[in-house]
């Protein structure tokens, strides 16, 4: 405890960052329904943001700050808890707070009048607290605690409207799939602890950390006196990656993310931008020295496949939030590829830029859904407010929302002048350079990324054109009366902030060249790839050329209404619209067999176990009947006399107890207390 007096300023600021949402959470928990305003939560996250800015200014490119205090001991092993601030965590702290604050402000308007809004602020504060704790944790154990809390808070938020069966199904799915990932994380921690006897991130993964110093000759993985077969290193990497796959929605664990759209839109934006899915990527970067070549290849391959798969699914979805959800999965695939090729700084850079424009896209979608809901209620229509087939021509009614969406969409498509251009090009160029050094087969990673980025441009253009261009598809909207309005200022201001952050000046003074970006410069490059100049001109040109062609096609089809009817509704369309039938496959391949096994076990229990017990019971019953006869005839006669006396006494003493069992318990407790008290008086020396 005496260490507390020696806390340095950045650590104190980190504690403020962490505690502000926690205090807001406690406040909401105590106040319950009485606290319906979001002001405490918003103020708390604003305080966190200020402290995070201070930390960032002190720590970025400076000395790493690490302070810890002893936490607990188990036998010989002592565990420590502390805070680790370096470039990575300072940046992420700033990002989480900078995304969470606009979302809080937006939610104040968006969630106004919701019946359960007091719970909303409660969960939101918990969510931010968990993510901030995960980011600044200095040991794997603390990180795991944050990791679990993030999962739990997202479970609560996805099921926020718990009266909808779909929401309950969605949050159960998210939770169960995240549990699979948690298991991976836990196994990874266990392997690390067995090998190194510590969970301290600095000691393990620092510059001269144990993982780097450990010796691995392909047969044995040795550190100091402790050795285990080398394949455990691969297993540990795979286990941690399993955790990240579930959290960051990588194939085949991505299925929870689209369903998580059942939560409020503002929550989706937070989950997708800064708090939930970012955790997986962050964790992989934090423990990056651990990965050996096989695991990196696996990460890259899964990332590339996920990116491509999610992009093809996003092409045909009709729900505005589903499109964005699959787009998130696809972009997370990009980040995974960046990790897989060893460019951790680039992965974090894309995480940051993606956070801003994806959060903005979701908030815009929320504004649109808000207005569609409004139309639905005033006109008493039967329509799904999230279906883009019902929208169209909204540009005239919501010009500001339209402009901001356009900025975010361009950033997602990766067109120049936006932040998305810088980070996406960085990943693509590094991927091509990396592939130069691999066998020809691995060329598929950069090529599939290129295809994915073309598809990205198409599906986001389709969304923008279908929602904002053309004519309104509900005839009543078009007829003079102005049912649709611009989003209120409380929603537009946070969106404007995010829109500004989605442009290039925040990240680099040069809008065309990612190498000048300060975020990438802030991370050491583990192995510098040889710069292949040709890629630095050809790749951006290819990306942008493809994107522009795709946007043009989307414009012809959706804005001008020249959709090639009939010719596109083939097998592939169905395959994409059904999300590759993965949900069906999981249902048939995993859920159904599990249920079948449970039913068989139930039947076994019923017939064999119960049968045995029943036979036993029959025998005992026969004995009991005999005993009963003896009892009746001999013992009862004697006891009944005593019993009658007891009944009389009971009747007198019963008083007001009236069979209420808790009164009995309470009296017993009182008597026990009296006996204890008297006993202590008498027997104490």
């Amino acid at each position: 405890m005496d260490q507390l007096s020696q806390i340095s300023t950045p650590v104190l600021a980190a504690l403020i960052v962490l505690c502000a949402p926690l205090i807001s959470f406690g406040l909401s928990a105590i106040a319950g329904k009485r606290l319906r305003s979001g002001i405490p939560a918003t103020v708390a996250i604003a305080i966190s943001l200020l402290a995070a800015i201070f930390i960032f200014a002190t720590v970025w490119n400076g000395q790493q700050v690490h302070q810890q205090t002893s936490w607990f001991r188990i036998g010989e092993h002592s565990f420590k808890a502390g805070i680790l601030l370096n470039n990575l965590s300072a940046l992420l702290l700033l990002l989480v707070c900078a995304i969470a604050l606009p979302v809080h402000v937006y939610s104040m308007v968006y969630m106004k009048g919701d019946y359960g809004i007091h719970r909303y602020w409660l969960y939101l504060s918990l969510f931010c607290f968990a993510m901030l704790g995960l980011v600044m944790a200095d040991s794997l154990l603390l990180m795991y605690i944050g990791w679990e809390l993030v999962g739990f808070a997202s479970y609560l938020l996805i099921g926020f409207w718990f009266t909808r069966p779909a929401a309950i199904k969605a949050n159960k799915k998210a939770f169960l799939i995240n549990r699979i990932g948690d298991l991976g994380f836990l196994i990874g921690i266990a392997i690390i602890y067995t090998q190194f006897q510590t969970l301290d991130l600095v000691a393990l993964f620092g510059d001269h950390g144990m993982v780097r110093e450990a010796f691995n000759d392909g047969v044995e993985w040795r550190y100091a006196q402790h050795a285990m077969p080398a394949f455990w290193l691969t297993i540990a990497g795979a286990a941690f990656f399993l955790g990240a796959m579930a959290k960051s929605a990588q194939f085949p664990f991505h299925i929870w993310l689209p369903d998580a759209m059942e939560g409020p839109t503002s929550v989706s934006s937070l989950i997708h931008a800064a708090t939930m899915v970012a955790a997986g990527v962050f964790m992989l970067v934090r423990i990056s020295p651990l990965f050996d070549a096989q695991i990196l290849l696996l990460i890259g391959a899964i990332g590339a496949f996920t990116a491509l798969m999610a992009a093809t699914i996003a092409l045909t979805q009709q729900d505005i939030k589903k499109i964005l959800a699959f787009s998130t999965i696809s972009q997370l695939g990009f980040m995974m590829v960046a990790i897989g090729i060893g460019q951790y700084g680039v992965a974090i850079f894309h995480l940051v830029t993606h956070a801003f424009f994806k959060c903005l896209l979701f908030l815009s979608a929320g504004a649109v859904i808000h207005e569609m809901q409004h139309v639905k209620e005033t006109l008493k229509l039967e329509l799904d407010p999230q279906d883009i087939r019902n929208m169209g021509g909204l540009r005239r009614y919501m010009p500001h929302t339209f402009r901001l969406t356009l900025v975010a969409a361009l950033a997602l498509a990766g067109l120049p002048l936006t932040a998305g251009y810088l980070s996406k090009d960085a990943i693509l160029i590094f991927a091509f350079e990396w592939a130069e050094w691999q066998s020809a087969w691995w060329k598929f990673i950069p090529v599939s990324l290129l295809v994915t980025s073309a598809l990205t441009a198409f599906y986001i253009a389709r969304l923008v054109f279908k929602v904002f261009y053309g004519k309104p598809r509900i005839s009543a909207i078009g007829q003079g009366t102005n049912y649709l309005h611009e989003a209120p200022r409380g929603m537009l201001l946070p969106m404007l902030f995010l829109g500004l952050c989605s442009l290039f000046p925040l990240f680099s003074y040069n809008p065309l060249l990612f190498e000048d970006t300060w975020i990438i410069k802030g991370f050491e490059l583990p192995e510098t790839l040889e710069r292949v100049n040709i890629y630095h001109t050809v790749v951006p040109a290819a990306v942008n050329g493809l994107a522009i062609v795709m946007i043009f096609i989307a414009w012809r089809w959706y804005a001008q209404g020249k959709y090639p009817q009939g010719s596109l509704r083939g097998r592939l369309y169905e395959f994409s619209a059904a999300q590759w039938y993965l949900n069906v496959m999981y249902e048939k391949g995993i859920v159904k067999p599990l249920l079948k096994v449970s039913k068989m076990l139930y039947a076994f229990d019923r017939t064999i176990v119960d049968g045995l017990v029943d036979t036993g019971a029959g025998t005992v019953r026969w004995f009991a009947n005999t005993a009963q006869w003896l009892d009746r005839a001999l013992v009862d006669g004697l006891v009944n006399g005593v019993g009658k006396a007891a009944v009389f006494a009971g009747g007198v003493l019963r008083g007001s107890r009236k069979g209420k069992i808790q009164y009995y318990l309470f009296s017993m407790f009182l008597v026990l207390l009296i006996v204890l008290f008297v006993g202590l008086k008498i027997f104490s020396p």
């Binding site: 405890m1 002893s70 607990f72 069979g659 209420k660 407790f669």
Partner: protein, 101 residues
């Protein structure tokens, strides 16, 4: 550093919370929750005192047994509550007053 007293304090708090729930809650499931809290208070004490057990880990082993038994007890108790609900259409302990006669 967290000392034994801290553990005992937390345990006493847990126990009192549980006792309160058992005595005052009007929902049998919450009463059950209270019982669980009391068990956990006891388990915490076992683990805390187990530190003075040298290298034998007696307290921790015992705690593990207690946790397993508690889990079994919950299963049984929930089954009982289900049956009580089927019979009385209520799980308020006050409504189940057949003990009076």
């Amino acid at each position: 550093m967290i000392s034994l007293t801290h553990f005992l304090l937390v345990s006493a708090l847990l126990f009192s919370t549980g006792l309160y729930a058992v005595l005052a809650k009007k929902n049998a499931i919450l009463v059950l929750v209270g019982i669980e809290l009391m068990i956990n208070a006891a388990v915490l004490n076992l683990v805390a005192f187990g530190r003075y057990d040298g290298g034998l880990y007696g307290g921790q082993t015992f705690a593990l047994f207690a946790i397993v038994l508690a889990a079994a007890a919950v299963a049984v108790a929930l089954a009982i509550i289900l049956n009580v609900y089927k019979h009385y259409k209520s799980i308020n302990p006050d409504d189940i007053n057949d003990l009076k006669d």
